[in-house]
Subunit: 331 residues, 2 copies
Amino acid sequence: MKKILNDPKNFVPEMLDGLLKAHADQLSYAANDLRCIVRADAPVSGKVALATGGGSGHLPVFLGYVGRGMLDGCAVGDVFQSPSADQMLEVTRRIHGGRGVLYIYGNYGGDVMNFDMAAEMAGMEDIEVRTVLVKDDVASNRDPEKRRGVAGMVFAFKCAGAKADLGGSLDEVEAIARKTLANVRTMGMALTPCIVPQVGKPTFTLGEDEMEMGMGIHGEPGISRETLKPADEIAERMLRAITGDMPVGAGDRVAVMVNGLGATPPEELYIVYRRVHDVLTGEGVKIHRAYVGEYATSMEMAGCSLTLFRLDDELTTLLDHPARTPFFVQV
Amino acid sequence: MKKILNDPKNFVPEMLDGLLKAHADQLSYAANDLRCIVRADAPVSGKVALATGGGSGHLPVFLGYVGRGMLDGCAVGDVFQSPSADQMLEVTRRIHGGRGVLYIYGNYGGDVMNFDMAAEMAGMEDIEVRTVLVKDDVASNRDPEKRRGVAGMVFAFKCAGAKADLGGSLDEVEAIARKTLANVRTMGMALTPCIVPQVGKPTFTLGEDEMEMGMGIHGEPGISRETLKPADEIAERMLRAITGDMPVGAGDRVAVMVNGLGATPPEELYIVYRRVHDVLTGEGVKIHRAYVGEYATSMEMAGCSLTLFRLDDELTTLLDHPARTPFFVQV
């Protein structure tokens, strides 16, 4: 297993310890538990607080987006494992600034169960919690309600976080999260698996000339396993999977994210972006912002995902709002 | 070969095309050649201009640091190949704002030959060019003058770029670049090779349980090939290689960069950072800023490097100065 680590069972606590030391000016933790990450200045009084949570192994998702203009806190689980309800409750208590807390996280069973429990417990302490689930992965299910959440969640953090930063109410911030996600779709593909440290072997296998379209970020099976295709074809296939589900056309304005899953070099992501850009602009779609890089990873998995975010004036303003977190700075 | 690309011989032009389309608000190019990257607002009149250059395959190095507060231009070569003198000359012409141009780049033979020629040709057009070579890789040679340039160059871009942004003269900006580099050392290690697209096979081989200490970013041989060690030991070995060459101790102030070479997940980089942080702070060294992420890569190479930058008040102020480039934003 080619990983830089000490005892695999300390992977998450040591990672968190290093991350909190590197970003002590921006991040802190609640309840004496490194897995309960909060903004260093939490709670921000009079602001709706945003929380997320989920398993480790996806940096910058989830905790990398805790900071000004995005999230207030994050409960961190072990690699690909849900955090506990107690951790999410501790985060919720610490970030609550008196105007309620919005949970935004990916639609995974363990997270839903634990965070619903946390929300209920917070409610008993008179902290109002609302929940918006991210279900942007078009490949994961035909039924939009059963889809998993992947890289598109970053746009929900960004726009709902901006709305909260601008003083929005819990109703308003929740509405922005829902509106954002109604306009966000993602499709991914993988070339190689990743290795869960405590397991020590690849999560799946793919042949030397194979790729899998629609692969999930934990190695969940995709739509088709096939011979590796050229970058342009991969880009178009991802784009069509998205626009087949959420049409965009002449006059529409979008943000585009080409996200690397871990081992894919930025050079290759830009080759993918190029094709997406050319196809969309050729169809008269205006690209307002492009995000190319690693936004939601699966450790050393090679591959990428494409996210489209369909914008109106309100969402554009919120997307453009400044943000500063350890992994996302926008001026 | 598991890469997302089209025809391998179009790897660099397609990457550049995508990158320029994604960052059209910040970047442009000179002489109708995508390989001559310049700031979109070049030339900045009355400012000393900074240029760099080198082979592709190292993003964000080199062109990712072109932008406000850092570099004005960059000549881009093919993967691991030097750009031509003509490309560097075109960049130089476009970015010259009337106060001279400083070249800062890594100490590699092809680059030195081509960029010295470009400087000479620019001189014949009455553009004054100075050159500062980056030689921060302590593993590459015992003789400091013969060392290669690696991730530490980012600190030279940052501080010299800040000095130019603040109105410094060519003499002053050059002096800051030299002072910065006199206080910067890097040491790296690799777990896996990378694949040059046009070659289609790994640049070298390493056994399943092997690592190489001191590996260069093009796969140049390092100091020792050995059994993979725990992260803490790797961190300490890199740190000692650096402090053996540039002592730091109680009362010193440093910036620390833990740089991923491409495929190593950020989680692992933070585990390395943690140990570096604990050892340095245990010895009374103050860490002013930590940079953990991908700053100078070798495509899909797994591994990391450690850079220490010893600061005084002047360098601290310049390091803290705001910057905004496609790959580096500091507020």
